[in-house]
């Protein structure tokens, strides 16, 4: 069928099956990939376009319905002269685009609003943008950007030497606000074949494949376990336990079994029932009780007791020390599987280039991907090239392999480009999750409120395969006592296999789960001794000079007390406001809560080096070669700022080559909050190295000022001015590496697990609807010790985005395999759920970091749930022991507490 319509102001004609989604027609046939697909179900709003001027999910519109109508996409935005609209400029100035995957949808929703109402209030912005989900920003900067379109000022580019600390606009921002950024599904070659993966409908089963020959005759290939040269992958070199394609046995619902390879329409048309798989379901192991039962069947035959790993941190004599405590609190806390819910599903494509394979993929870790793909394919790592596409959110979930080995194997075998894009339900079923945790905590203090002893046992459900489970089980014992000086500690972490999705890396590696427990204990002890909850924490905060539970003395940069000092006036005012409100209201009660955290930056007691290069070409191009992948958090910009200042040239003159394993050196993974600290230091050293080379050439002193115009580099050293013709100087290349100094932990968990730690304290004000058990978070104030904010706008964006995910963890997010595999049953916070967030940046300099900086990627999330849950307790007297605190759970607890009160029992 032919469809004639108006597309971005021009007459357009399209032909194809009329039931084709508008989103697919725009992307696949009309080359307008600025419209993104996050769910194909109207749940996320990423594909929002204007249809006859109204915002519409283009995944819900049939091309047959578009005849004669007017479609406007993000590509229509512009000032008419190739420049940006004021809305796009405002998004850039406010840092409203992080990964950029929701940005097109947000912009189009905002355009609809602004045409009606040029100066909307916050509530109007929320109503208009409420249908678009963002997982990165926490929405704050998006709301700011839309509200201030008419007044927004562009950010001036900082001069040479002043980039660090400036609110520089993202260096990769323009493609994100114009829809030109290319994500995993956006640049698939036209001649590519496609893969559709057939996945297990069972949590645990054996299976036999029937005769695949008929399918193979219809398709280019049907891949099974037999086609995988080494059928095991995993994060750790010694644990390659997850098959690329299951071999006769599946261990979780959603596990990959067969890959159908062919023309896209062809593989989509084949239903799972047409693939001959004879299943023999077996009773699955669900939950920690089942996994640790004496007679539990084994999830993996060679993993006795279903145990993945355990670890301990022991210092002093915790058991004895409790006897001397004036007050002791204890509790048991449980958390659920949590889904990353990045708005971009896993996507990528591969092609064979001679004896090498090239994988273009959305990822957080190109070098680890390279080595893993090579291992699966039995190739040398140098034979694999990973080219990261723009990454539409990761949060830890795009560290593991997803489409990579499948597209690589198929492209290798068929010698044709092969692509694979997960559907939303597939992404949710197949990918890793945050570990469900059961945390038993016991804390004691003396009569003055000084903490004396702590015992924590954190038990994690690691799902069917190891993934990052060992990282969680190692990291948590180090952090589980919280950011406090406690002389006697026993902290235990352990992880068990179950027939659930593999639990892997998710922003915080288990620390957010543990923080719910230790912060509840702080509240209880403070209340018991009638000490203010903030002051109790202040009294016990780790400070520079203190020794941690692993025996590490913190020499510098332990700014928790400063964070609490910064919160104190807000805390006191919030208490006054809440008391005034509660004196009046009956059915709704408000409360204030506080959460603190610390977070070790980088790998736990393991080398995690970064290497960066900064080059100056004969043509005068200054280029930063960065292997650090920007997944939205802003490392492209941060590295540029650091390198520019280290060289002594303006950030605007730095060109960037990022991620590609053929063009950049290994800067490690984008996780563990390590890029600013580790790769940033490498970038600083690389910049300084280049500067040294320039100064040597110019025979100039260390304070010389550089300026670059074309191929002419001018070096001013006092009165001496030297001009270097770069064309004759040849290519200059600076290089820098950094590996944060750590030591292994001994049998008692003693050692230096991290070179530095981030600290933070957040407070939340909430309103609880007593009758319904619903919680509205009214305000959050977040004070974070970041060492040095290289770019305050980006730092705030990380904190606000982390807070939104922490809010989801506390109040609504619970992944249930087979039940919440979409974005309407699995709830993440919308623009109306995240309150205004005030960020306070504390800069307690870390001498090891670039300009004193540490990391902030994960810390934003960790204290949020504790602060919210503490506020709910303040409002209602109910201490949540299980998250998410869904309305029915809170209401039932409120009713139970009321009944205990009336029957005289202690609450």
């Amino acid at each position: 069928m032919k469809v004639a319509f108006t597309l971005n102001g021009r007459v357009a004609e399209w032909s194809g099956p009329p039931v084709t989604r508008l989103a697919a027609a725009l992307r696949d046939d009309l080359d307008l990939t600025g419209t993104k697909v996050g769910c194909d179900a109207g749940d996320c709003g990423a594909c929002t376009v204007l249809l006859d001027g109204r915002q519409t999910c283009s995944c819900l519109v049939a091309m047959g319905q578009v005849e004669g109508r007017r479609v406007e996409t993000v590509e229509s935005l512009g000032d008419g002269n190739g420049g940006l609209t004021s809305l796009q400029k405002s998004f850039l100035a406010h840092g409203a685009a992080q990964c950029g995957i929701c940005t097109s949808g947000m912009l189009m929703a905002a355009v609809e609003l602004l045409r009606r109402n040029a100066r909307p209030c916050r509530a109007e912005v929320e109503d208009a943008l409420g249908g678009v989900l963002c997982r990165c920003t926490g929405y704050s900067k998006i709301v700011d950007a839309v509200m201030s379109v008419s007044t927004s000022m562009p950010i001036a580019a900082p001069p040479a030497g002043a980039a660090v600390g400036a609110r520089l606009q993202r260096v990769d921002g323009v493609p994100k606000v114009t829809g030109r950024d290319l994500f995993g599904a956006d640049a698939v070659p036209a001649d590519a074949l496609w893969i559709r993966v057939v996945r297990s409908p069972h949590a645990r089963a054996r299976f036999e494949l029937g005769d695949l020959a008929p399918l193979r005759r219809r398709l280019a290939a049907v891949l099974t376990a037999a086609d995988v040269p080494f059928n095991g992958f995993g994060i750790y070199p010694d644990i390659k336990d997850q098959p690329v394609l299951a071999d006769g046995q599946v261990r979780y619902r959603g596990e990959a079994v067969v890959a159908l390879v062919g023309e896209r329409a062809q593989v989509l048309a084949i239903r799972d029932e047409e693939v001959p798989i004879a299943w023999t379901p077996e009773a699955p192991v669900f939950g920690l009780d089942a996994a640790t039962a004496p007679d539990a069947v084994l999830v993996q035959a060679d993993k006795p007791e279903n145990l993945l790993l355990n670890g301990v941190v022991r210092r002093g004599k915790a058991a004895e020390a409790f006897a001397a405590c004036a007050a002791v609190a204890e509790g048991l806390f449980e958390t659920a599987f949590v889904e990353h819910a990045y708005i971009e599903p896993e996507a990528g494509w591969a092609r064979r280039v001679g004896d090498r394979i090239e994988v273009h993929v959305t990822t957080q870790t190109p070098y680890m991907n390279r080595d893993e793909v090579a291992n699966v394919m039995r190739l040398r790592p140098e034979a694999v090239r990973i080219v990261p596409t723009a990454c539409g959110g990761g949060f830890g979930g795009k560290l593991d392999l997803s489409v990579h080995p499948l597209v690589a194997l198929a492209a290798w075998k068929l010698d044709r480009p092969v692509a694979c894009v997960y559907t939303r339900p597939e992404s949710m079923a197949a990918s890793t999750k945050r570990h469900p945790a059961r945390v038993a905590a016991r804390f004691g203090c003396d009569a003055e409120g000084k903490l004396l002893a702590c015992e924590v046992t954190a038990t994690f459900d690691t799902g069917a395969y190891a993934s990052w489970g060992p990282t969680v089980a190692n990291r948590v014992p180090v952090h589980a006592m919280g950011p406090y000086a406690i002389p006697n500690v026993r902290s235990w972490g352990e992880a068990f296999f179950t027939n659930c999705p593999p639990a892997g890396a998710f922003r915080g590696f288990g620390v957010p789960q543990a923080a719910i427990a230790h912060e509840a204990m702080m509240d209880e002890l403070a209340d018991r001794l009638s000490i203010d909850r903030l002051e109790f924490r202040h009294k016990n905060a780790l400070r520079a000079g203190d020794t941690t539970a692993t025996g590490q003395t913190l020499a510098h940069s332990a700014g928790l007390a400063q964070c609490l000092d910064a919160l104190r006036p807000h805390w006191q005012k919030a208490h006054d406001d809440v008391a005034a409100f509660n004196a009046k209201s009956g059915s709704r009660r408000r409360g204030v809560g506080i959460g603190c955290m610390w977070y070790g930056i980088g790998n736990t007691s393991m080398s995690n080096p970064s290497r960066m290069r900064v080059g100056l070409s004969p043509a005068g191009t200054l280029t930063l070669y960065s292997g650090a992948v920007d997944i939205g958090q802003g490392s492209n910009t941060i590295m540029t700022q650091i390198a520019a200042d280290a060289v002594g040239l303006p950030a605007a003159q730095v060109a960037l080559v990022a991620g590609d394993t053929d063009l950049t050196a290994d800067a490690g993974k984008t996780s563990a909050s390590r890029q600013t600290f580790v790769s940033g230091m490498a970038a600083e050293r690389a910049g300084r190295d280049l500067r040294q080379q320039i100064l040597r050439l110019a025979n100039a002193g260390p304070d010389a000022e550089l300026s670059l115009e074309g191929a002419r580099l001018t070096v001013r050293d006092g009165d001496a001015v030297r001009s270097i013709d770069l064309a004759s100087a040849g290519t200059l290349m600076g290089e820098g590496t950094f590996d944060p100094p750590t030591t292994p932990l001994d049998a008692d968990g003693q050692g230096v697990p991290y070179a530095t730690y981030a600290f933070a304290a957040q407070m939340a004000t909430v309103e609880v609807d007593i009758g319904l058990g619903t919680v509205k978070v009214l305000r959050i104030v977040a004070a974070h010790d970041v060492g040095k904010a290289i770019n305050p706008t980006l730092v705030e964006g990380q904190i606000q985005g982390g807070i939104a995910q922490g809010l989801g963890l506390a109040l609504m997010e619970e992944y249930l395999p087979g039940r919440t595999e979409n974005l309407h049953d699995y709830l993440i916070p919308t623009i109306g759920d995240v309150p205004e967030i005030e960020c306070i940046l504390i800069e307690d300099r870390e001498p090891l970091g670039p300009s004193g900086a540490k990391g902030v990627g994960e810390p934003g999330l960790v204290p949020t749930a504790p602060a919210i849950l503490g506020a709910v307790h303040h409002a209602t007297g109910v201490r949540a022991t299980r998250v998410p605190l869904l309305p029915h759970r809170l209401r039932e607890a409120i009713v139970a507490a009321g009944q205990e009160k009336t029957t005289g029992k202690r609450t």
């Binding site: 194909d40 819900l60 409420g130 759920d833 309305p887 029915h888 209401r891």
Partner: protein, 276 residues
Amino acid sequence: MGAYLRPRRLEDALTALAQPHVVLAGGTDFYPARVGRAIDEDVLDIGGIAVLRGISADASGWRLGATTTWSELLEADLPPLFDGLKQAAREVGGRQIQNAGTLAGNLCNASPAADGVPCLLALDAEIEVAGPAGRRLLPLRQFITGVRRTALAQAELVVAIHVPKPDREARSAFLKLGTRRYLVISIAMAAATIEIADGRVASARLAVGACSPVAERLPALEAALAGAPLDTRLADRVEPAHLAPLSPIDDVRGSAAYRSDAVVTVLRRLLQDLAA
């Protein structure tokens, strides 16, 4: 590949329905049910049929065309009787869904959590159905027969929703309980319409959704409200026993016990809103 028909005339649509077709209007339920697979059914797109769209009124009441969208309803000039349905319209999905989703689609999808159903039950709406044997009118509660089931025969289409004009001054309200602010499926919701005479509730119609396979009216509560003074004490008349027609279940959004408990609060708040 299936057929795709987009007739302009209702008669042509009805003719086409002699053969089985999946009916497509706003697409907000059609496409989510077809994620990641080829769409090979025969599709009848009724979005191009002008007579199915729009809102009109006459002496007996209002006619809401089947493919009227939530946004069109919100923008329509309607009396306070429709305030509840408009409140529901603002709570259906996000703005994108409101711009695409249709009133009749919400009914034909027959989800227990359809936000429009309690409102239209409380408005005493009737569903106009066209088919080979001509037109028929069904009360809404008879139209929806179960979870994802309706009284619609294969060859029939909903053409309009009729809302009768009350004899007296009337108001309505809607309240939805969900776990997040936007894009949320209700844990429970309730709608009420009251007719007012001499400062008293002359008659009341209340319905609750997401607490039974099909949203249900609450006749005992309606009886308890009839004749009551229209003031803040109205809400006190809600008793748990009035919820007898409901049969809530445990699901991911909430427990059955919670639903039973929360619905009482939701109904009281709704009546407070109406009395204010």
